[in-house]
Structure formats: structure tokens, C-alpha cells
């Protein structure tokens, strides 16, 4: 019995031991598995998290790209044309700090650069095309002008002359527009002029406008103040454009005043209008256009293009002139000041080459007492024209006295309306016939007012004292009065 119990007990204990060991193993493996399951769950969670984040990031990026294409790129395109346009930032402010964000910013910068470059290229091409066209139009209009002026000289029938005047004015306006367009497109002003009186250039500019009647020019310059040849046309264009601006911004019944004055560094042409004036923005724009050093793009000028100020800007840069529009006028409108520097000024003898008949004469002459002026002018005349071959002036000889004048007047009374042919014995050349001139002129008087186109090279110098002149004048008046009262002229006085 005992023999059976021992092995049974041994087997039992061994079995128990095994069961214990196996149970231990089982427990451990169970614990391990639950740990693993937890880890898997945790990992799954993180995976889901990450997936969700990635999906969000991708959505954000897609949204940013959509924002870029829909809003930001068009804004950059607008900005290429209008530097003041705002380009919106990315949707989220953090995005710009991420790498894709920086990449997209790079895209925008590159786009802006390329667009600006392309815009300049297209603009240059457009300007070149327009330059060619306007140059041809301008040349054609100058030819037309020549024809019109020829016709004006040739025909003086009033109705026809009226039409010719109107056509000439129309032509001047077209010419101005073509010229301004050409200048904005970088062309030369298109016309070489000779040295001219500054007042002529200003009056010439005035004549190119529709409202030229409203312009009052006050010339306070010394007579003979002139522009060097290459500055004449630019000054005329600038004055025309400034006047156009002034006329446009003021009412039809107000005047535009132009003052020509000496300044320390040159001559100032001040243009004042009594219009509504410009707002601060407009004034800043205008000032930028006329004084900026940046080249002007055609596409900056708006539609319809505002060429005038751009042309002024172009010319001031090319010709070293300066224009200022930054101050309001005391008349309430705009004050534009064109300063012509001394190196662009010269002198033209107003006696040898007087300014145009329509150009306002200098107020300086009017202010000066007349006799000294005449005296002075007479003093100068012999030097310049003493040897002149032109002997058209009746009273050209310095030897004539008041008595002679009187005789002459009597003579013409007897002969009445006969033309008088009196040569100047002193200077008449052999081959020159005596030519008719006014019948009794006050010698040297016309030289006193140079703007009067006295054709002085035809006037040999009278050397006479003011007393003599006064006597001659008196005699002349008496003679004329006597002639009028005693002899009725042939035909009736048309008045």
C-alpha cells in the first residue's frame, strides 16, 4: 500500500508543481497580452490623431492655395499697376511661418517681379508704336499749318479769312495733342525753333488752346528776354499744358493770369487760375507727375489718358526746367510756376527782331518815362544801323529839322493823297530805288517801343534832341490839322 502511495504522492506533487508553473506562465502571458493591447490602442489613437492633423493641415494648405489663386494673385496683379493696392495676407497668420507658407510668399514675389517687367516691356512697345504714329501726324499737321498760313497771306476775303483762322486754330489744337502724345512717348518735341522771345513762346502756347481768350499775359520782363533755341518749343508746350489745366479747372467767365517775372535764378512764369482748385490728393498726383524722376508709363495715365502733366514731367526732366504745382493760388485756384533757369535764357535784340504783334509788351517800358527811353534808343540806333542800306524811311536823315518836316507836311497837303517818294540822300545805295514809307513819321519814336515791329534796320539813325522832336511833332500835328481842314481828300473819309 505504501509503495503505491509514494509514487502517487510524487506524481501528484509533480502535477501540482507543473500546474503551478503553467498557471504562472498563463498569468504572465495574460498580463503581457493586455499590455500589448493597451499599447496597440494607444498607438491607434495616436495614429488617428496624426491622421486627423495631417488631414487638417492638408485642408489648410488647400484653403491657402485657393486663397492664393482667388485673392492674393489677382491682388498682386493689381498691385503691379497700382502700387497702392493692398495684397491680402494668408488666411491664418501662422501659415506664413511654415515652409509651404514661405514657399507661397516666394511665388507671389516672383510673380510681382515678372509682371512689373512685362508691363514695362509692353508699355515700351506701345510707346514706340505711338511715337511713330504721332510723329507722322505731327509732321502732317505742320504741313497743313504751312498751307493754312500761306492761304492766310494770300486771301483776305473776310469770310474766307475767318474760316482760315478757325482752321488754323483747330490745327494748332490737334498739333498740340499730337505733340504732347509724342513727348509722353519719349519722342523729341518735333520742331526746331530759333532763339525767340520768351513772351512769344508763352503767347504761342496760349494760342494752342480753346479758351485762349480767357488768358491774360502780363509781361514784366525786360524786353529782349529770350529763350535759347532748344528751350523755345518745350517752354511753349509746358505753358500750353499748364494753361490748359488752369482753363479746365476754372469757370468760363474767369480769367487765367500769366505773369512773367525775373527771378534770381532765371525767369518765373506764374499761372494762376481762379477756379475750384485741386484737392490735396490731386495736387500731390500732379506734383508727382510733373516733378518725379521716375519714367512715366502710358498705362499709368488712366483712360482717357491724362497726357498733359506727364508731358510736362518728361520735358522738365529733359530740359532742366522746373515746374511747381504744390501751392494753391491766392485766387483760390491752382498756382503753377514754371522756372526757366538762367542757362536757358538769352537775349534777342527787340529792335532788330521784335516779338510777335500779338505778344503783350513789357510793362517795364510803360513804367519808364518815355523821353529818356527814346533818347537812349536813339543814342543806340546809329551804332547799329548807321550803315544800313535800307532807306525806306522818309525822315531817316539825321539832317532833317522840324522846319523841313513842316515843309514836307505842306508838300503832302498840296499833293494830298499822292504817295511820297523821298529818298534818304545820305544812305541810299546806287541800286536802290527810293521807297514809299509813312508820310510824316516821328523819327526814332517807333524804336522806343520795340514790340511795335519797327523794322529798324530800315531806319537810318535820326540824331535829334527831344526838343527838336517835340518841335517836329508839333509841326506835324499842325500840318496835319491844316491839311485836313483845308483840303478834302479825294474820296470820302471812310469813317
Amino acid at each position: 500500500m505504501i509503495e503505491i502511495t509514494v509514487p502517487a504522492a510524487a506524481g501528484l506533487s509533480a502535477g501540482t508543481l507543473l500546474a503551478l508553473v503553467l498557471g504562472g506562465f498563463l498569468l504572465r502571458s495574460r498580463r503581457d497580452r493586455s499590455g500589448l493591447r493597451e499599447e496597440i490602442a494607444c498607438l491607434r489613437e495616436r495614429l488617428d490623431d496624426t491622421r486627423a492633423k495631417a488631414a487638417r493641415a492638408s485642408d489648410d494648405l488647400i484653403a491657402e492655395i485657393a486663397h492664393l489663386t482667388e485673392k492674393r494673385i489677382p491682388a498682386v496683379a493689381t498691385r503691379a499697376a497700382h502700387p497702392h493696392a493692398q495684397v491680402p495676407g494668408p488666411l491664418s497668420s501662422d501659415f506664413a511661418r511654415t515652409r509651404p507658407g514661405a514657399g507661397l510668399e516666394g511665388v507671389l514675389d516672383g510673380l510681382l517681379g515678372v509682371m512689373t517687367k512685362e508691363r514695362k516691356r509692353v508699355d515700351a512697345a506701345a510707346r514706340a508704336g505711338m511715337r511713330g504714329t504721332t510723329r507722322e501726324i505731327q509732321a502732317g499737321l505742320y504741313r497743313l499749318q504751312d498751307v493754312l498760313r500761306g492761304l492766310q497771306q494770300q486771301y483776305d476775303e473776310p469770310e474766307l479769312a475767318q474760316t482760315l483762322f478757325e482752321l488754323d486754330h483747330e490745327n494748332e489744337q490737334s498739333l498740340r495733342r499730337a505733340q504732347v502724345a509724342a513727348v509722353v512717348c519719349g519722342a523729341w518735341v518735333g520742331l526746331a525753333r530759333e532763339e525767340s522771345h520768351l513772351v512769344d513762346a508763352v503767347t504761342g502756347g496760349q494760342s494752342r488752346l480753346v479758351g485762349y481768350h480767357r488768358v491774360r499775359v502780363n509781361n514784366h520782363l525786360e524786353s529782349g528776354t529770350a529763350l535759347v533755341s532748344h528751350a523755345v518749343e518745350p517752354v511753349a508746350i509746358i505753358v500750353a499744358e499748364l494753361l490748359d489745366n488752369a482753363l479746365r479747372h476754372s469757370s468760363r467767365d474767369s480769367d487765367v493770369t500769366v505773369n512773367l517775372e525775373r527771378a534770381h535764378h532765371g525767369v518765373a512764369v506764374t499761372i494762376d487760375d481762379a477756379g475750384v482748385g485741386m484737392s490735396a490728393d490731386e495736387r500731390a498726383y500732379a506734383q508727382r507727375m510733373v516733378a518725379s524722376s521716375e519714367p512715366i508709363l502710358l498705362s499709368d495715365l488712366g483712360d482717357p489718358p491724362r497726357m498733359g502733366l506727364a508731358a510736362i514731367g518728361q520735358l522738365t526732366r529733359q530740359f532742366d526746367l522746373s515746374v511747381d504745382l504744390s501751392t494753391p493760388s491766392p485766387y483760390g485756384g491752382v498756382r503753377a510756376v514754371l522756372l526757366v533757369d538762367n542757362h536757358l535764357l538769352s537775349h534777342v535784340d527787340p529792335v532788330v527782331r521784335p516779338p510777335a504783334a500779338a505778344a503783350p509788351r513789357s510793362t517795364r517800358e510803360a513804367d519808364t518815362p518815355e523821353p529818356p527811353v527814346r533818347q537812349e534808343t536813339r543814342g543806340k540806333l546809329p551804332v547799329r544801323t548807321g550803315g544800313s542800306a535800307r532807306t525806306r524811311k522818309v525822315t531817316g536823315s539825321p539832317a532833317f529839322t522840324a522846319a523841313e518836316i513842316l515843309t514836307r507836311t505842306n508838300f503832302s497837303r498840296v499833293e494830298d493823297s499822292y504817295p511820297e517818294t523821298v529818298p534818304d540822300p545820305g544812305t541810299a545805295p546806287d541800286d536802290d530805288l527810293p521807297q514809299r514809307r509813312r508820310r510824316h513819321a516821328r523819327p526814332g519814336a517807333e524804336a522806343a517801343v520795340p514790340a511795335a515791329r519797327p523794322v529798324p534796320e530800315q531806319a537810318p539813325p535820326p540824331a535829334r534832341t527831344p526838343e527838336d522832336s517835340a518841335a517836329a511833332l508839333g509841326a506835324l500835328q499842325t500840318g496835319t490839322a491844316a491839311a485836313r481842314s483845308s483840303a478834302e481828300p479825294e474820296g470820302n473819309d471812310p469813317r
Binding site: 492766310q152 473776310p158 530759333e194 496835319t480
Partner: protein, 119 residues
């Protein structure tokens, strides 16, 4: 003539009359005589009229001569003359009739005589 400007005039002719070419005195002809008044021109006279007044200088010129001196077309000077006449600054007379002019050979003889005098 040194006084003539060469090239294109800067100031067109219509500016001198303010664009008007129809004078009030239509009977003014190219050879009508304009006689200027004596004394300085009154103040405030428009520039072109002033210029015409000055070029007449108290004497007499035909319309076409004044136009040549002013470098303006005859049509413009006609307007200026009519305006001045209206202001009483210039008197106008019809042209000298051709019949009253001395014969051209007489003038020639006078010219020859004058030349002879000079020599």
C-alpha cells in the same frame, strides 16, 4: 532782311484779333490808307492794336504795308485797323485812285535824278 524771322512763327495770326477776321469796315481794301493818331497809344490797348498804332507812328501807310511790317496777314490787320478807327485812333481813307498816280516814267525820271544827285 535781318529783322524777318525765319522759320515757323510761334504766334499764329488769329491771336492778334482774338480769332476775328470779319472787320466792321468791309470797305477797307488792301491799299486803303491808314493814318495814325499823334501821341502815345492809350493805356490798355490790346497788344496787336498797340503794335499797329506804333507801326503807323502818326504817319500814313497802306493796309498792306502795315501788314507786311507787322508780319500779319492783311485780313488780321484789316480787323485791327477797323477797331482802331472805331476808337478814333486811326483814320481811314480809300486807296489812291490809279488815275491820280503820277506816271511811272515820271517816277523813274525822279529816281534817276535822285541817283544822279547822290553821285
Amino acid at each position: 532782311m535781318t529783322g524777318r524771322r525765319s522759320g515757323r512763327p510761334l504766334v499764329p495770326a488769329y491771336l492778334s484779333t482774338g480769332g476775328v477776321a470779319r472787320p466792321r469796315h468791309t470797305e477797307l481794301e488792301r491799299l486803303s490808307l491808314l493814318t495814325g493818331g499823334a501821341g502815345p497809344a492809350p493805356d490798355g490797348l490790346p497788344a496787336a492794336r498797340h503794335a499797329l498804332y506804333d507801326v503807323l507812328d502818326g504817319g500814313t501807310l497802306t493796309l498792306v504795308e502795315a501788314a507786311a511790317l507787322l508780319e500779319l496777314p492783311v485780313s488780321a490787320v484789316r480787323v485791327l485797323a477797323a477797331e482802331l478807327a472805331e476808337q478814333g485812333l486811326v483814320s481811314l481813307r480809300p486807296p489812291v485812285p490809279p488815275a491820280a498816280l503820277p506816271a511811272s516814267d515820271l517816277l523813274k525820271r525822279v529816281a534817276d535824278g535822285l541817283r544822279a544827285l547822290k553821285q
